[in-house]
């Protein structure tokens, strides 16, 4: 029998209304690098949160056996005490503190009288930095080094805690190629020193490079675990997406009209760092009645593209041209974009889409108050009537349009956001992750609404991480990778395999 450092047995985790994990089992052998793959939302992060004590013992079913004993972890502190350390995708470093201060945060090197011994701390930190191959002084501020180096600091921090099992959640997602290679080499060299690690990733080439075994999770279930010799890209992709695609999407017969939107050479840079290109020369077009998909991995620049287009709400140094029905239009402010018939439904409805403390009525009218204005005053009755019409036509489940939006379910909140933008009477709707975080029934309703809008002659752009969803509802799909369009796939040729190939395509800069 192999020596397993970790066995997770039949883990089931439920959130209100959703089973995030169902009987998931995971065995990690001592000394190996184990990759976990799955689409966004498959349950990878939830599983790691169970393992690291973010979801404490008792909030899930199943057992965690670590180093031969069943453990019940009730906090991150607990799991770290056992030697399980997780490095999250969003780095948890304090930007205004030094590298050494960050490494020993909450784990300070105590000297005499319980005071912090900074000399020893800096010295120890320097040794850890050598170990991870980072040539920086331990006293350098975190904000003065790049993301790639910050990732190394996180690993040094983990090493300072005498880690036995290191978990890396998409460690290369924010890194460039050089930094990624460096990081992967580091993981290989740590393995040579006997470190066990779990790496969450959907970059297939890097999994092939470093993983000893791969476990694929889909829809909250373990699909299979394969060993190094069994791993092929095809097999991983099949396991990741292989699901029943029928009857999850309403029928849609496209009735295409003339071109309604064309974007030429759209380029946008990072808002804080104008040298980083986030959207790179994007060209695309949409016809009336057409549903166009944009596929891309997290960080590919999907939302960045949409928001830079919609009133320049993202990015700096934005350039490119936008044409509506052949006429060039400007979309420099949100008002200008709305007036020119654009609508953008955000991927983050709670933080960017809705005023949760306000009622349904006022959320729906928010982007179109001018329509309700008469002699400088808003016509309350008209507003109520409009909101009620949308409540009925969109099937928003709430006792009345005066209900607070914060109390609605995710699906109903999304219908309120959609109502808001449909009421603004756009010609083109950009829907960013329109079904994120909502249940299957509500998803079907949203798809039906999207079809209805297309049938009315509007142009629709759907951005989604769920490939089956794009394939199920779109007429044509663009693939985006590192800010560039790497492929344009007609629906007849679209399959998850084809799309993933384009989405992970790396183009030389």
């Amino acid at each position: 029998m192999t020596d397993n450092i970790l066995e997770m047995r039949n883990i089931t985790k439920e959130f209100p209304g959703v089973k995030a994990l169902q009987n998931v089992s995971l065995n990690v052998a001592r000394g190996e690098t184990h990759a976990i793959c799955g689409e966004n939302g498959a349950g990878k992060s939830t599983l790691m949160k169970v393992l690291s004590g973010v979801y404490p013992h008792g909030t899930y079913e199943g057992d965690i056996v670590f180093e031969g004993e069943t453990v019940s972890l009730s906090s991150i502190r607990d799991s770290e005490a056992k030697g399980i350390v997780i490095i999250h995708q969003e780095l948890a470093l304090s930007p205004h503190l030094s590298i050494a201060e960050n490494i020993f945060l909450n784990n300070e090197v105590k000297g005499r009288f319980g005071l912090i011994d900074w000399d020893k701390a800096n010295h120890d930190a320097q040794k850890l930095l050598t170990r991870v191959g980072l040539r920086e002084k331990a006293t350098t501020k975190i904000s003065d080094i790049g993301v790639g180096k910050q990732q190394l600091v996180e690993i040094a921090k983990a090493l300072s805690k005498e880690v036995k099992l290191l978990i890396l959640d998409e460690p290369t997602a924010a890194l460039n190629d050089e930094d990624s290679d460096h990081l992967l080499d580091l993981i290989i060299s740590l393995k040579a020193q006997g470190m066990t690690s779990i790496i969450i990733s959907h970059k297939l080439n890097e999994i092939k490079k470093i993983a000893d075994s791969v476990t694929v999770i889909r829809d909250g279930k373990t699909i299979e675990t394969m060993s190094r010799d069994e791993v092929t890209e095809d097999r991983i992709i099949k396991a990741m997406v292989g699901r029943d695609l029928e009857h999850r999407y309403p029928d849609h017969t496209p009735n295409l009209g003339e071109e309604i939107l064309r974007v030429e050479d759209w380029t946008a840079h990072h808002p804080g760092d104008a040298t980083r290109v986030m959207v790179d020369n994007v060209n695309l077009n949409v016809r009336r009645g057409e549903i166009v998909g944009i596929a891309g991995l997290m960080g590919a620049g999907r939302t960045e593209f949409a928001m830079s287009l919609f009133g320049r709400t993202y990015g700096s140094k934005i350039s490119g041209k936008v044409f509506k029905a052949g006429q060039e239009i400007k979309t420099r402010t949100v008002t200008e974009a709305i007036d020119n018939g654009l609508a953008y439904v955000t991927e983050d409805r709670k933080n960017y889409g809705l005023n949760l403390i306000e009622d349904i009525k006022r959320n729906i009218s928010m982007a179109s108050l001018k329509k309700l204005e008469k002699f400088g005053l808003i016509n309350d009755g008209e507003e109520f009537t409009v909101a009620n019409q949308y409540r009925k036509s969109m099937n928003i489940k709430a006792p009345s349009v005066l209900s607070k939006v914060g109390k609605l379910s995710g699906g109903n909140q999304q219908k309120v956001v959609l109502s808001k933008w449909i009421y603004s009477d756009p010609d083109v709707l950009i829907l960013d992750e329109p079904t994120r975080g909502i249940d299957v029934g509500a998803k079907y309703e949203i798809y039906t609404i999207i079809n209805r809008l297309a049938a009315e002659g509007k142009g629709i752009i759907v951005i989604s991480s769920e490939l089956p969803e794009l394939i199920g509802i779109c007429d044509r799909i663009y693939a985006l990778s590192e800010g560039r369009i790497t492929g344009e796939v007609p629906i007849e040729e679209a399959s998850p395999e084809v799309l993933i190939k384009y989405m992970t395509m790396e183009t030389p800069r």
């Binding site: 008002t335 006022r362 108050l369 709430a398 299957v440 029934g441 509500a442």
Partner: protein
């Protein structure tokens, strides 16, 4: 309640949720909900009743607090705080704060003294110029907050010092007095057109009574029109019994209030100014695009921006507006004292902010009403006035006011948590 819709399912009826209600329970339900919603109003009545009892004069058996002359004073003494509270609640709803209003009021009061007394300009011209000064001050602060992005707390803390300094400079550390009579009437004038003699030292003004009657009729007409409108559009309305009961109660309050004014000196000019401002700003807050944008920004700034709200411009004009209201408050205060002094308006900002918060404004922004702020201001006013009548020193007065603010906000937080609201 979570009703699932199967793929392809049609709309489900959602009109009736929960057990059927009979009339009695639904009326009681509305009364309870009404207490929750009008908690602040009930608090005002409680404070009024408490001090009305505490200030009963054992000799004559009447309550000093409720004497017509004292009711009249309540308005005149608090008018300028209430004017500030109107602007302050909007600033707070948008998620900001303004600490400078006391200093701005003092500065504008001083400038109005320069215009009206030192330069001898006609009083109306002096007032218009003073309001422009207030607008300019607001534009200055609005610029730093909206376009440079400095938090309002810092900008207005600086403004508190800057404009106090300006007041001192303008007045050269002395006072300006002897304002024209028309100017003075803004602060301590009364409108009494048809007093009838009711014996020695006792008269009652018919016009004031008539205005009170008009106010009550206006209230009824407006409330019934709103109710009819809502019924027409199929909105829920309160049960008719509860609705009329509430209106009658408020009407009795209004009647008593105007009777007191009529028995005293008539309608204070300050009350007229205040009344007009309340009407205008309630409309602005609820019925105009600008007002909606203020609430949208306070509720979720990002969502507002992505819905096309020009958040910077709204922030800017909000502070210009606050500057103008601070100017009006400064003029009314100066007019009442007939003196523009360098130390005028100290502590106004704290009373105005307290009024807004006691009146139910949320610290995180997005929630607040003009009416609530006015009632909050009256609670502070009654506390000040009642404790002064009782001869309580300012040491205890401060302590009590501090505790009331703390408890009011604590109650608000508690009741919101219980109803599961918040974000």
């Amino acid at each position: 309640m979570s009703t699932e819709v199967k793929p392809g399912g049609g709309p489900l009826g959602t009109e009736h949720i929960g057990p059927p209600e009979n009339k009695v329970t639904s009326t009681i339900g509305h009364v309870l909900a009404g207490i929750g919603k009008n908690g602040i109003f009930i608090a005002l009545i409680a404070v009024l009743v408490l001090f009305a009892i505490l200030t009963i004069n054992p000799g004559t058996g009447d309550s000093i607090l409720l004497r017509p002359q004292n009711i009249s004073n309540l308005i005149v003494q608090n008018g300028y705080i209430l004017i500030l509270a109107i602007g302050m609640v909007l600033v707070i709803v948008a998620g900001h704060i303004d600490l400078s209003v006391g200093s701005v009021a003092a500065f504008v009061g001083a400038m109005s003294g320069v215009f009206a007394v030192n330069m001898g300009l006609p009083w109306l011209v002096a007032i218009v110029l003073s309001l422009l000064v207030g607008a300019a001050v607001g534009a200055w602060q609005g610029f730093w907050i909206a376009y440079v992005g400095i938090p309002a707390f810092i900008v207005t803390l600086a403004g508190m010092l800057i404009f106090r300094g300006f007041a001192l400079i303008v007045l050269n550390n002395s006072n300006i007095g002897n304002f024209p009579a028309e100017y003075r009437s803004l602060g301590n004038g009364f409108i009494e057109l048809a007093p009838i003699d009711l014996g020695p030292r006792n008269s009652i003004d018919l016009v004031t009574l008539a205005v009170g009657a008009i106010a009550i009729i206006g209230l009824f007409v407006q409330q019934f029109r709103t109710r009819l409108g809502r019924t027409k559009y199929g909105q829920d309305v309160e049960p008719i019994g509860f609705f009329i009961g509430k209106l009658v109660l408020i009407s009795v309050g209004i009647a008593l209030f105007f009777y007191s004014l009529a028995a005293a000196k008539g309608i204070p000019v300050t009350l007229i100014i205040l009344g007009i401002l309340v009407l205008i700003y309630t409309t602005v807050a609820n019925r105009t695009v600008f007002g909606r944008h203020v609430f949208a920004i306070g509720g979720n700034r990002h969502a507002a921006e992505l819905s096309g709200v020009k958040t910077r411009s709204v922030d800017f004009w909000l502070f210009v507006n606050m500057g103008v209201l601070a100017a009006i408050a400064g003029i009314v205060f100066t007019a009442r004292l007939n003196v523009a002094g360098p130390q005028a308006g100290q502590g106004f900002e704290l009373e105005a902010i307290s009024a807004a918060f006691i009146g139910g404004a949320a610290v995180q922004g997005g929630i607040g009403t003009i009416g609530g702020a006015i009632i909050g201001g009256f609670i502070i006013g009654v506390l000040n006035n009642g404790m002064s009548i009782l001869g309580i020193g300012s040491d205890y007065q401060q302590t009590v006011k501090g505790l009331v603010l703390l408890l009011a906000v604590a109650f608000d937080v508690y009741s919101k948590r219980r109803s599961g609201g918040g974000r």
